[in-house]
């Protein structure tokens, strides 16, 4: 299993080497073609007001005359849209992203390869050599606790700690069908402990009666902040400082190995606005687009872009181990993990 720490280190080196090329803007021909098309339709999994709107605004400012339209949902919602439109030969969406979107729609052969100039700064692990996908931003998922209800000493530190009877009925997670939902937790356990020990652990964990939320990881963390579930599992660590700054009683736990995942952006096959789609992908992966990602509180994939809370990264001041849910791993296992979640925990 690849460690993200190494990957990030490699990414930093690669980023420095490719600094010059990444700064290069999209070609004039592409920009002209995109302007002729006039708009791009983006099927995104990012949160609209936090990320999608500022990124779209930055894009429209840089390329006036190319309007960004978007629809937002989880990976499953977005994949369903792309697949349905493809079967009806009625294409609307140009660009997709998400942690699980790619593997579903690639299976339906509905992704077009495209390698933007700006992708040069990405580490090799975070882009497809043929250009079918590129990492748009990273996620690190772990546990968190309500600091009013649980002290730092009391809080679970390891996966074994979660089996303590005192946490029975006290935990919640999101069961969305993505590597960033409960399925990713299952995958992480199986990858770390092996099939047999892993399944044994998961069965014991199921006896702890975790609350299954069908909404996002953000609502799971909110439930913990509110005090309904003192412990949250599989929450995005970058959400914790955002809430802490508003005064919320919450802290995240370095429960190693964490789950790491990347939101993959790509071009839909037979997209109605292919050039505008390419231009948007190029922009989002560029330093400028990635600055907008970072400003939204997300963790950019481009190593050139600095973020305010470096402790959120495995390479930060307090390093941590994380299992990366690469597209290959997700492709191969996601369906099985979802089945385990459905059978064991629901």
């Amino acid at each position: 299993m690849k460690s993200v720490a190494n990957a990030m280190l490699a990414a930093t080196v690669a980023g420095l080497v490719c600094w010059a090329s990444s700064a290069r803007a999209a070609s004039d021909e592409l920009i002209a073609a995109a302007k002729t098309e006039g708009k791009v339709v983006w099927y995104t999994t990012m949160i609209v007001d936090q990320a999608v709107r500022p990124i779209a605004a930055a894009f429209e400012k840089k390329y006036p005359g190319v309007k960004v339209e978007f629809a937002r949902g989880n990976s499953g919602d977005m994949a369903l849209k792309v697949i349905n439109e493809g079967q009806a030969r009625n294409r609307i969406g140009d660009v997709f992203d998400g942690t699980g979107t790619y593997s579903s729609i690639r299976a339906a052969d509905m992704v077009a390869p495209y390698t933007p100039d700006s992708a040069a700064s990405l580490a090799p692990e975070f882009k497809d050599p043929k250009g079918y996908w590129h990492a748009e931003n990273f996620y690190y998922l772990t546990a968190a606790y309500n600091t009013d209800q649980v002290t730092a000493e009391e809080a679970p530190k390891t996966y074994e700690d979660l089996l303590d009877p005192k946490w029975k009925g006290q935990m919640a997670w999101a069961v969305t069908p993505e590597p960033t939902g409960a399925a990713g937790f299952v995958g992480n356990i199986l990858m770390t402990m092996g099939e047999e020990k892993g399944m044994d652990y998961l069965r014991k964990l199921a006896a702890q009666k975790i609350t299954n939320m069908t909404s996002s990881q953000r609502t799971v963390l909110d439930r913990t902040i509110l005090g309904e579930s003192p412990i949250a599992l599989m929450i995005f660590n970058h959400h914790v400082p955002i809430s802490q700054e508003k005064g919320a009683p919450v802290e995240w736990i370095r429960m190693e190995p964490l789950v790491s995942s990347a939101s993959l952006i790509g071009l839909v096959k037979d997209a109605p606005h292919p050039n505008a789609g390419k231009l948007l992908i190029d922009f989002i992966l560029s330093d400028e687009g990635q600055e907008a990602v970072a400003a939204a509180g997300y963790l950019p994939s481009n190593p050139n872009v600095k973020i305010p809370h470096s402790e959120l990264l495995p390479t930060g001041p307090k390093p941590f181990k994380a299992n990366f849910m690469s597209p290959e791993v997700v492709d191969e296992n996601l369906k099985k993990w979802i089945e385990i979640v459905n059978k064991t925990f629901m």
Binding site: V48, Q87, P177, S215, S216, T219, G227, S243, A248
Partner: protein, 579 residues
């Protein structure tokens, strides 16, 4: 587009009496035109569902080859039994709660001399304008582990436990019952409003006390309407989605609709074949229920009490029991309106969702409201939603006015039209969303992702609701008025325009109001059909909910509920004047 065509087709039908009556039978043509319109609207979505339920879903998400595997899986999965049981318990008890809360209030407000009647209407109208998500969210907060009710319980008893576990069947039933009691109130109040007061007065004069009169006369007279409505609410609760998803799923209680939802949303790629098979089974179950509903509704006419004679009811004197009625209405007001709105206000003023604590009061700000008012996005959501709601309500009311009359009067073909217009009831919203998505993607017209796609789907979804209003309304109007029109030489279409439409207008305006209000909060259908340019309020709110922006959701929800309430009051005043 298609929608305006249907409306103009109906209009054209209404103009038909100017044609020579010898050569054609206007009732026949009306039936034929409506039959075509309804078939085009309703049948493709059913057909695509049945087709998908017996087709193999390939890994590349294409379809091909016939299979019965989806059905086999349905009948061999043990969880299905549990879900069926849960669905029945959930539907039965939430119907009882809704009938108790809404029915009692409807009778008291319409038929007695109690005070505070406006309070009851306000409670109903505002709760009808409040989107379910907002409402359920507020209740989950109030009844939740960290909510004020359990807080007070812990403070009083000193225990660390909870009084109410809201994520339970009990919580589901309570919240669903609360959600439906405004509908029961609205529908039954129109029944009680036109009930003949002579019989109640006769009972009182013959020496019956208040309770004997209510039990033996008022309730017995309304029984056909109550039974039909109970079955209607039961069916709607079987296909309910928001409460099972937001309350049941976190509590580990699955019902039939959440099973369908899971097979679509919690697997990648979505298991549409299994979901379709599941829906087809639901369709059969609901079909059977609807058969009984038809039998009940057939008897509803036997107490029809609007005749050509006077039909102004006089209020029933509760005497010394008046305060009981008033206490009940105030209790409803606090429970259904005041507490949830206060909870939402608390959440809207806080930077993040937190329990009600003195220490949190200092953190209050209008930041969430400022965001909502300054955002163009929210304005677009509101405009789109109002537009779609108005189109769907108008189309559904116009269509069901004619269908309701043809069906209630047992005209040839009326039963078929009734069944076509009632068929959408068998669709859980989420399944209807999938079915329409496929239909819109298969038609050569670029309708997917436009506001029209939503307007058409909403129209179909709310046909049964419009029909219940017009059907029940027609039943209340005695034959003799139509016979009088016939004797005076009017054709059926003239009669519909000059007699039926004016007499039915309270029911039709109520239907419009109701459909508009519930269409503007429709989520399950819109979630799949809304495109980048056709986002609506409910979907926007759902995004905020799943994103965990509870504060902004509460702020936007309060503003939206206020706007909808103003609209609701305008229409209500209109309905009142007409009546």
């Amino acid at each position: 587009m298609a929608m305006t065509e249907q409306i103009s087709m109906n209009r054209a039908g209404a103009e038909a009496p100017s044609l020579p009556r010898r050569s054609r039978n206007p009732t026949f043509w009306l039936t034929a035109v409506l039959g075509v319109v309804l078939a085009v609207l309703v049948l493709p979505s059913v057909a695509i569902l049945i087709a998908r339920s017996v087709m193999i879903t390939n890994p590349d998400a294409s379809f091909g080859g016939l299979t019965i595997a989806h059905f086999t899986r349905f009948f061999t999965t043990t969880g299905v039994l549990t879900s069926t049981y849960n669905s029945i318990v959930f539907a039965v008890f939430s119907t009882v709660v809704a009938l108790l809360f809404g029915g009692a209030q409807a009778w008291l407000v319409e038929r007695t001399n109690m005070r505070f009647k406006p309070l009851a209407y306000m409670t109903t109208i505002i709760s009808l304008g409040t989107p379910y998500i907002l409402y359920v969210g507020a209740w989950l907060f109030l009844l939740g582990k960290a909510g004020p009710i359990n807080d007070v319980f812990r403070m009083v008893t000193g225990s660390r436990g909870v009084l109410i576990d809201v994520y339970s069947m009990f919580g589901m039933v309570l919240i669903e019952g609360f959600l439906w009691s405004p509908l029961v109130f609205l529908l039954l109040s129109s029944t009680f409003r036109v009930a003949n007061a002579d019989l109640e007065e006769a009972a009182r004069m013959s020496g019956a006390n208040v309770f004997q009169t209510i039990w033996n006369v008022s309730i017995k007279m309304a029984m056909p309407a109550i039974l039909a409505l109970a079955l209607f609410v039961f069916i709607r609760a079987v296909e309910a989605f928001e409460v099972p998803a937001m309350v049941g799923m976190p509590g580990g209680i699955d019902v039939l609709t959440t099973d369908v939802y899971k097979s679509i949303k919690e697997t990648i790629p979505p298991d549409l074949g299994y979901a379709s098979a599941y829906s087809v089974v639901l369709l059969v179950i609901v079909g059977i229920l609807l058969y009984f509903y038809g039998k009940l509704a057939k008897n509803a006419g036997k107490y029809s009490s609007i005749t050509g004679k006077s039909f102004r009811p006089r209020p029933f004197n509760l005497g010394p029991y008046r305060w009981v009625a008033e206490a009940l209405v105030i209790f409803n007001f606090v429970l259904l309106l005041l507490l949830p709105l206060l909870a939402l206000l608390w959440l809207a003023l806080q930077p993040f969702m937190r329990a009600i604590r003195p220490s949190a009061f200092s953190a209050m700000s209008f930041h969430n409201f400022a965001t909502v008012f300054s955002s163009e996005y929210y304005r677009d959501l509101a405009v789109n939603t109002i537009l779609i709601g108005a189109i769907a309500a108008t189309a559904a009311v116009v269509i069901t006015f004619f269908v309701g009359w043809l069906s209630a009067r047992r005209k040839p073909g009326g039963v078929v039209l009734d069944q076509l217009a009632t068929a959408p009831l068998i669709f859980p919203g989420i399944v209807m969303g999938v079915a329409f998505l496929m239909v819109f993607l298969s038609v050569p017209v670029p309708i997917y992702g436009t506001l029209w796609a939503l307007a058409i789907a909403y129209t179909v979804r709310y046909l049964p609701y419009g029909l219940r209003y017009s059907y029940a309304g027609v039943l209340q109007i005695h034959h003799e008025l139509e016979e009088a029109a016939g004797v005076a030489g009017a054709g059926p279409l003239t009669m519909l325009r000059r007699i039926m439409a004016p007499l039915l207008s309270p029911a039709l305006v109520s239907a419009w109001l109701f459909i508009f209000l519930i269409a503007t909060k429709e989520l399950a259908v819109a979630a799949l059909l809304a495109g980048p340019n056709s986002q609506v309020v409910a979907v926007g709110m759902y995004d905020l909910w799943v994103n965990g922006q509870g504060g902004e959701l509460a702020a936007f929800g309060l503003v939206w509920a206020a706007v909808m309430t103003c609209l609701a009051f305008v229409f209500y005043a209109f309905a009142r004047n007409k009546a």
